[in-house]
Amino acid sequence: MSTILFMVAVALILSITFVVSYLWALSSGQFNDLDTPALRILKDDILKGTERKNHEQQ
């Protein structure tokens, strides 16, 4: 019985924590931009071939 009570308390605390942190995330703008992060990684940002040679001679 004591285990059940313990688990109910844990479940309540955890679920309240989750709701509160979700509301915080929403209101603080965590989900404002869900597109650019996925796109940004596709760009390589590396120097190749002649581009690299020119860069290294500078």
């Binding site: 285990t3 955890l14 996925a38 940002d45 120097l47 860069h55």
Partner: protein, 702 residues
């Protein structure tokens, strides 16, 4: 500008090349050892009579090589490659990277030597003894410093989802490894774990399941989130889903460990908790699979011509299958049938060969041409590799599930008189031997595919066009510095890491803390007797030979198990077992109540030649136990360590351990002599083993 400054304008590709190549080497070892182990189950004489490559010692070598050498090196290579590009900076320290690389290879080498020699802690996937455990910890710390240092000096403030998974991996594996490996040494290569019995079982499977979670899942999900979009040149299907996926997965996974211990003497509330969280785990797992697969949306026609895409799709599909099957097997009534059978072996290989293996192959096919500045030697060979591998996995998986369900049903069969239909365990083994051959064939096909890959990669590397150089970074603007607007959580590495660690620790603390006081669960009317000195010596041999890998010591409260093995196991019986030896697989019968069931002579003959007792037995002969002398030199130290860990030995028992053991050995060997054993066996290991086997189920009775 000094040299060092210039260097930071380049990615460290050399370290990635190193990890990529060594991955192939260890893959070959892991696969080959696995094949030999599989063949040994189909045809027992294949250990060649050599103790070092007998199944009980070979199996840990296979699992450790597959997880920590093959998958481990691939993870490190992939993480180092993608992290540099995602954070737009060179790794924190070239020196640390190389210490990490060579240190990890040293760990693997130590494992490859010590495991066949029989140095083991007797806990699955955590077999390595304490000095190697310390080395692993040190290398992991180097890795962590190198990774978090890179995070600290990153030029890209926003951390992409792959990085989150890497953070969770590094932190959680550290916690898991340290907690599960805490042990007190009594000699240079031997120790006893501080955990005992039920507590050890819980800690071990909290570790074991999360080795699957945080060594074989989270790092691979991180790699998936980077390499799938890069290979397809398309953004991940849903970044929104990846946020939910990450947080739900790391929070829920850690609770699932007890599903390995359903119907055992683990407290009921923990079993239920483990089962419920395992079922919940289905959702985030499939969130990850869907996110990966739907990234292919609109591009499916290209799969026809791109072998690497095929590998990715198959890997994600196997991930989906394994993470559906896992929750299914975690339901108590399904576990009642599947646990201890080959179904579980099929399940893990679906994940390991399909998800981990194919992800690694796809990554290497993509990385090697890039890193060696060339093209893949042959797409056609890669295509053939894919189909060979796929057929191999399917043969492996189907044969093992059929074997598992068949044997599980045979164990359970009870006739109308309430008697077992197959009272002889061996009948259920003989029935599935043909499936063991099919499994080995599946493994062989997988290896042939792998050989094609090695050839393909070697040819690719040899065709490199220019001398190898590091990749130059184009955009050197540090966006961490020109940061005026408030950053979101994904821009704060420290806060993010702390939150991820917290998500993992909640389940850990709630499950492990209550069992620290194990006596709450013990019936005070029952006094458990510790093993005698000789029995303990025999127990260490039992651990050394890896007996627990084929024999469980845990009878579940199910009708057929009561009929076959006797009363269900209790917490009290194993309360002083450092380590616990409940086992997870029954290639042979359960041994929890073996003691006093047969005379000493039966055991003597059975250990020397199992077929003399049971003509169809597939157990290897352990004749070296009758040749090697018992090493009494450590026995006082052993008992002393156990006493300090809470086993109720008196000071006298510790002081007289060697004398007591020799006296008991004399009694047993005299008895055997009277039955006609002519050899002088008084000091031989087999006597200690018999003493231990006869003590099984004799302690902790009412």
């Amino acid at each position: 500008m000094n040299n060092n400054d210039i260097k930071t304008n380049y990615y460290d590709d050399d370290i990635v090349r190193k990890f990529a190549m060594i991955t192939l080497v260890w893959a070959g070892v892991a696969f080959l050892v696995g094949l030999i182990a599989a063949l040994q189950l189909a045809f027992w004489p294949l250990n060649g009579g050599l103790e070092w490559i007998t199944f009980g010692r070979l199996r840990p070598l296979h699992t450790n090589a597959a997880i920590f050498a093959f998958a481990g090196n691939a993870i490190f290579g992939g993480m180092y490659h993608s992290t540099q590009r995602l954070l737009r900076t060179r790794l924190f320290s070239d020196t640390l990277s190389r210490i990490h690389f060579w240190g990890w290879q040293l760990v693997i080498l130590c494992a490859a030597i010590s495991l066949p020699l029989g140095f083991t802690q007797g806990k699955e996937y955590a077999e390595l003894e304490w000095p190697i455990d310390i080395l692993i910890t040190l290398v992991w710390v180097v890795f962590a410093i190198n990774f978090f240092g890179t995070l600290y000096k990153r030029r890209e403030k926003h951390m992409y989802v792959a990085i989150w998974f890497y953070i969770a991996t590094i932190l959680t594996v550290a916690v898991l490894h340290i907690v599960n490996s805490i042990a007190i040494p009594f000699s240079f290569m031997k120790s006893y774990t501080v955990w005992a019995g039920m507590q050890d079982a819980l800690v071990q499977w909290w570790y074991g399941h999360n080795a699957v979670a945080f060594f074989l899942t989270t790092p691979f999900l991180g790699l998936m989130y980077y390499y799938v979009p890069k290979i397809l040149n398309a953004p991940i299907y849903s970044y929104r889903l990846s946020i939910i996926h990450f947080w739900a997965l790391v929070f829920i996974y850690i609770w699932a460990g007890p599903h390995h211990l359903l119907y055992t003497s683990l407290p009921d509330w923990l079993q239920t908790l483990g089962m419920v969280f395992s079922v919940m785990l289905w959702a985030p797992s499939w969130g990850g699979m869907i996110n990966g697969l739907l990234t292919f949306k609109g591009r499916w026609h290209l799969v026809r011509s791109e072998p690497v895409w095929k590998f990715l799709i198959a890997a994600l599909t196997f991930y989906g299958m394994a993470t559906f099957e896992g929750p299914l097997l975690s339901i108590k009534s399904v576990s009642a049938l599947g646990h201890y059978t080959d179904w579980i072996v099929g399940h893990v290989h679906g994940g390991a060969l399909g998800w981990n293996g194919f992800m690694i192959f796809a990554m290497l096919y993509y990385l090697v041409p890039k890193l060696w500045n060339t093209e893949l030697y042959s797409k056609k060979l890669a295509e053939q590799h894919f189909w060979l591998g796929l057929v191999g996995i399917i043969l492996y998986y189907v044969s093992m599930v059929v074997a598992g369900v068949t044997q599980g049903l045979m164990w359970k069969a009870v006739d109308s008189n309430g008697l077992l239909v197959y009272p002889e365990f061996i009948e259920t083994v003989v029935r599935i031997i043909p499936l063991y051959w099919i499994r080995a064939l599946g493994g062989l096909l997988y290896i042939i595919g792998f050989v094609l890959m090695v050839y393909n990669i070697v040819k690719t590397v040899k065709s490199k066009k220019a001398p190898l150089t590091d990749t130059a970074i184009a955009n050197l603007v540090n966006e961490n510095v020109k940061d005026n607007q408030p950053r979101l959580l994904e821009g704060y590495a420290t806060v993010f890491s702390v939150l991820a660690l917290l998500a993992v620790l909640v389940g850990t603390v709630i499950e492990i803390y209550p069992t620290l006081n194990v006596h709450r669960y013990v019936n005070p009317e029952i006094t458990t007797q510790p093993f005698s000195a000789l029995e303990q010596e025999g127990r260490d041999l039992y651990v050394r030979e890896g007996c627990y890998l084929c024999h469980s010591q845990q009878i579940r409260p199910l009708v057929d198990e009561k009929l076959r093995y006797g009363d269900p196991s209790t917490i009290e019986e194993s309360i002083y077992d450092h380590p616990y030896q409940w086992g997870s697989k029954r290639t042979g019968p359960d041994l929890a109540r073996l003691g006093k069931k047969y005379p000493d002579m039966w055991h003597y003959r059975h250990m020397l030649d199992p077929r003399e007792i049971q003509p169809k037995s597939i157990m290897p002969a352990y004749d070296w136990l009758a040749k090697k002398n018992i090493d009494y030199s450590q026995i006082k130290k052993k008992l002393n360590v156990l006493k300090n860990l809470g086993v109720p030995y008196t000071d006298e028992q510790v002081q007289n351990a060697d004398v007591d053991a020799e006296a008991q050995a004399k009694v047993i060997s005299e008895g055997l002599k009277q039955k006609g054993v002519a050899e002088k066996i008084e000091n031989k290991e087999i006597i200690a083993m018999i003493a231990y086997l006869q003590a099984l189920g004799q302690k902790g009775k009412k």
